[in-house]
């Protein structure tokens, strides 16, 4: 079954097999006679980056005589007479997966850097403008939170290129399941500062009607599934959606964003494995920003980051410089094309640095040095792209100043406007639990309203009593 849906078999081929009236038998035959690359019947891409000698899996694991093999359900594996463990502390020098890069840290094109999907000049300008506006919004909204205007905020400083760059590499209707720090995807797709501000204030214009904490954005129009706080739960969702899109022959893919901390959750492994086995066209975009709140990535995993886990699971994977917007755009477009063409998932690990605190509830100077922060903050991804644009004559200081000034005015105005919008009425807190409120929720709504009318001082400010 898995092979029928897997990357090496098109849906049309599966249909043909069924038309032959022997789907079960055919599937069984295929299951036990895999063709092509995967020695154990599972791999879709040879792990070239980890292979020490040749492209044959046998050499990697020290098997001198590749002709000597052993049959297992689903294929054959090589036999070796050497007793050797693969990986672990005894192999400290095992090769690291390289990081794809197009622009050097000063924004200059690296000679020979592959660009299968180079962004055009106007696209590069749009990319920079979105990153700059994102930075301005983050700064203003962060300050607003510090002033006590709303309860919580998260910035994405240091990860702008990974977030906006990947958004620019997607189709606008690709279904995005984000973690929580990817509001740049929404900005790229057309979410306005007003939309962001309404959500942070939890007012009645916000679709979620103030039920969730700030930064839990969502938009059906922009194919951005509403954020939930638990980590990695969104990953299998993206796989299920990708599978549904493939079933209905949609040209779109599912997209799951997550951090390297979330990669430790069971849902992450389940999602990657499901996507590979079921042939779901799903992009897994990991922002490896070095920290899960205070826990550094070297205390999160012992292996070579996140991307290295893809190939053994049958997921084509790439590591990309998350500070290089041009590399991220190219990698995302290539990954998307691969996912659609092969009907398979693709994993992208964008290497970033979380330049800001985890959230407004965090003070990261308690667990990392100011020197480290200053050094990484200097590698501003927006500045890197701007240097590239400046050199190409696509941008200049005057335009930059004007863009940021206008963005500041808009962000402040959006916050002021959102602050004046009333909250949703008290009764709305009892809606949307189910499609139709059952009797017990209607009873509780009526009781809450009666109590609130008798004790108006307990009603949160700005909440209409109806």
């Amino acid at each position: 079954m898995s092979l029928l849906l897997g990357s090496r078999f098109s849906l049309a081929a599966a249909g043909a097999l069924r038309a032959a009236g022997s789907s079960a038998a055919a599937a069984l035959t295929q299951l036990h006679c895999p063709s092509g690359a995967g020695v154990a019947g599972g791999g879709t891409a040879p792990s070239a980056a980890r292979s020490k000698s040749s492209s044959s899996g046998a050499g990697e694991f020290g098997c001198e005589d590749a002709a000597e093999t052993m049959e297992i359900p689903g294929g054959r594996i090589p036999v070796t007479r050497a007793l050797r463990f693969a990986g672990g502390p005894s192999e400290p020098d095992s090769p690291k997966m390289p990081c794809y890069r197009v622009l050097d840290p000063a924004g200059r094109l690296l000679p020979g850097a592959e660009q299968p999907h180079p962004p055009s000049g106007p696209e590069l300008v749009a990319l920079y403008e979105a990153m700059a506006r994102l930075q301005v919004m983050d700064t203003i909204f962060y300050e607003a939170q510090r002033q006590g205007r709303f309860s919580f905020y998260m910035t994405c400083a240091g990860e702008e290129a990974a977030i906006v760059g990947s958004a620019a590499g997607l189709d606008p209707q690709d279904q995005v399941f984000s973690q929580y720090r990817e509001h740049g995807v929404l900005l790229w797709r057309g979410f306005s500062f007003d939309d962001f501000a309404n959500q942070c204030y939890g007012n009645e214009l916000e679709p979620g009607k103030g039920r969730q904490m700030p930064i839990h954005y969502g938009s059906t129009r922009l194919a951005y599934h509403t954020v939930s706080s638990p980590l990695a739960t969104q990953l299998p969702h993206a796989v299920g959606t990708a599978y549904a899109l493939k079933l209905r022959r949609s040209p779109n893919v599912g997209v799951a964003y997550f951090g390297e901390g979330a990669s430790s959750e069971g849902d992450c492994h389940a999602a990657l494995n499901f996507a590979a086995v079921l042939g779901a066209p799903c992009l897994f975009i990991c922002r490896n920003n070095g920290y899960a709140i205070s826990t550094p990535s070297y205390e999160q995993y012992r292996g070579d980051g996140v991307a290295s886990r893809g190939p053994p699971l049958g997921v084509p994977s790439i590591r990309v410089d998350g500070g290089d917007a041009v590399a991220v755009v190219n990698a995302t477009r290539a990954a998307r094309a691969l996912a659609v063409r092969e009907g398979c998932p693709v994993l992208i690990e964008a290497m970033c640095y979380r330049s800001g605190h985890h959230s407004t509830s965090d003070d990261s100077s308690r667990y990392r040095t100011r020197e480290e922060m200053a050094e990484f903050r200097a590698r501003d991804p927006a500045v890197r792209l701007r240097q590239h644009l400046d050199a190409a004559g696509l941008w200049d200081a005057a335009r930059d100043a004007e863009l940021r000034r206008a963005a500041r005015v808009q962000a402040v105005a959006a916050l002021d406007a959102a602050a004046r919008v009333p909250k949703a009425p008290l009764s709305s807190a009892f809606e949307d639990v189910y499609k139709e409120a059952p009797w017990h929720i209607r009873e509780q709504r009526d009781a809450a309203l009666a109590f609130a009318r008798a004790h108006p001082h307990v009603v949160p400010q700005g909440v209409p009593l109806r």
Binding site: G208, H225, A244, N273
Partner: protein, 398 residues
């Protein structure tokens, strides 16, 4: 007391089966002879007599389901009724998928037999062995507008998916203000005791899920009920967890209407009317209550019991239970799950509030013990007919 004896002997049959997977399936492979006179008659009272010849409807507003005519029905066990419901659901809805561990070859209980052959490997397929993956995948499929029918092989193994159900499926509509939902998600899970399951093949975890706002929780008590309720869950515009009492997979056999029909969620059914004590249960326990009611009626000083099958735990039909207790003045709730903090507590508390002035005796809960499910002590752990009968007498004599 034929039904009681028959139940005991059926439990004996089940006990000879293997623990899990294919051995359990083959041991229970042949449908058992019907030993289920009382519930079968009760099902008849609840619907087909009033059956309209009209086309099946997906959503019915009537209190009682309108099932197709009796002539179209055929005898099925509960497992086959579930299988038929899945066939109907996949036939009616191109976006519907059935998936889970081992479902492709028909499932370890054979509930998905024939589906892959009929509907193809794109729509009926095995998944890797990960409950959180299965439910998370189903949520995503449903969020994209698909109909996701996920199987968790045993309810005992649903807990890795607890986070996905509690934090994701249940809250998706609420947290997005209705922008997104996974209304097309139904999670099926075989549950309950079968005589030899021990800790991890016996549990009845329904109350954990009934306590989660946003989920609907259903447990059928007979084959015809199972088919209609499962189809209702699949079409319900909210995520549903559908617990299938695996004791009944082979032992419960009755006429199941052919074709497409649903039984509305949130509406209890009264199996038998009575005037002295109200007995409330769901799933396989309904059979025990029906037998206890018969035994109570046969006592030297007969006690008349009203038996209510709750069918849906969330939202549950408090109106029906309160109406009955207002008449009888006495309430006994019985379930296989442990006593403390499970759904019997909710029912007795709510009814105590609503019917306080009408109560003639304290509401009682006759349930499993507050221990893990103990293998060799199962006959005593389970709230069997004699324990329920003792409670009926105690309530009546209070």
């Amino acid at each position: 007391m034929l039904p009681f004896a028959a139940l005991a002997s059926l439990r004996g049959i089940a006990a000879r089966g293997g623990l899990r997977a294919a051995s359990a399936a083959s041991a229970l492979g042949a449908p058992a002879a019907s030993a289920w006179a009382a519930p079968r008659r009760a099902v008849g009272t609840s619907a087909p007599a009033a059956a309209a010849a009209s086309a099946p409807e997906h959503q019915q507003s009537a209190e009682e389901p309108r099932l197709p005519q009796r002539g179209e029905a055929r005898k099925l066990n509960l497992c086959s009724a579930v299988n038929e419901a899945l066939h109907v659901a996949l036939e009616a809805d191109d976006s519907a998928c059935v998936f889970g561990e081992d479902v492709a070859f028909g499932g370890v209980f054979r509930a998905t037999v024939g589906l892959q052959e009929r509907f193809g490997a794109e729509r009926v397929f095995n998944t890797p062995l990960s409950e959180q993956g299965i439910v998370g995948f189903g949520i995503g499929l449903a969020a994209a507008g698909g109909t996701a029918i996920a199987e968790i092989q045993f309810a005992d193994y649903i807990f890795p998916a607890f986070d996905q159900l509690v934090n994701e499926a249940a809250k998706m509509r609420y947290r997005s203000g209705g922008l997104f939902s996974c209304s097309g998600l139904t999670v099926r899970a075989p549950c309950g005791a079968v005589g030899h399951g021990g800790h991890y093949h016996s549990q009845s975890p329904e109350s954990y899920f009934a306590a989660v706002p946003g989920l609907k929780v259903v447990m059928p008590s007979s084959p015809a009920e199972a088919k209609g309720l499962l189809l209702a869950c699949i079409r319900e515009p909210d995520p549903c967890v559908f617990f299938e009492p695996k004791m009944l997979y082979r032992t419960a056999v009755e006429d199941v209407p052919a074709g497409d029909y649903t039984i509305p969620l949130g509406v209890a059914r009264t199996l038998s009317e009575g005037s002295d004590v109200t007995l409330v249960g769901w799933g396989a326990q309904v059979l025990v209550l029906a037998q206890a009611a018969k035994a109570a009626a046969a006592l030297p000083r007969p006690i008349s019991c009203e038996v209510i099958d709750l069918r849906t735990l969330m939202p549950w039909d408090a109106k029906a239970v309160a109406a009955s207790v207002s008449k009888t003045g006495r309430l006994i709730v019985s379930h296989e799950a442990p006593l403390t903090g499970h759904f019997g507590a909710e029912i007795t508390a709510r009814i105590a509030e609503r019917c306080f002035a009408r109560l003639e005796a304290p509401p009682l809960r006759i349930c499993g013990a507050d221990t893990p499910f103990p293998l060799v002590y199962e006959p005593l752990y389970l709230p069997g007919v004699e324990r329920v009968l003792e409670a009926i007498k105690a309530s009546a004599e209070y």
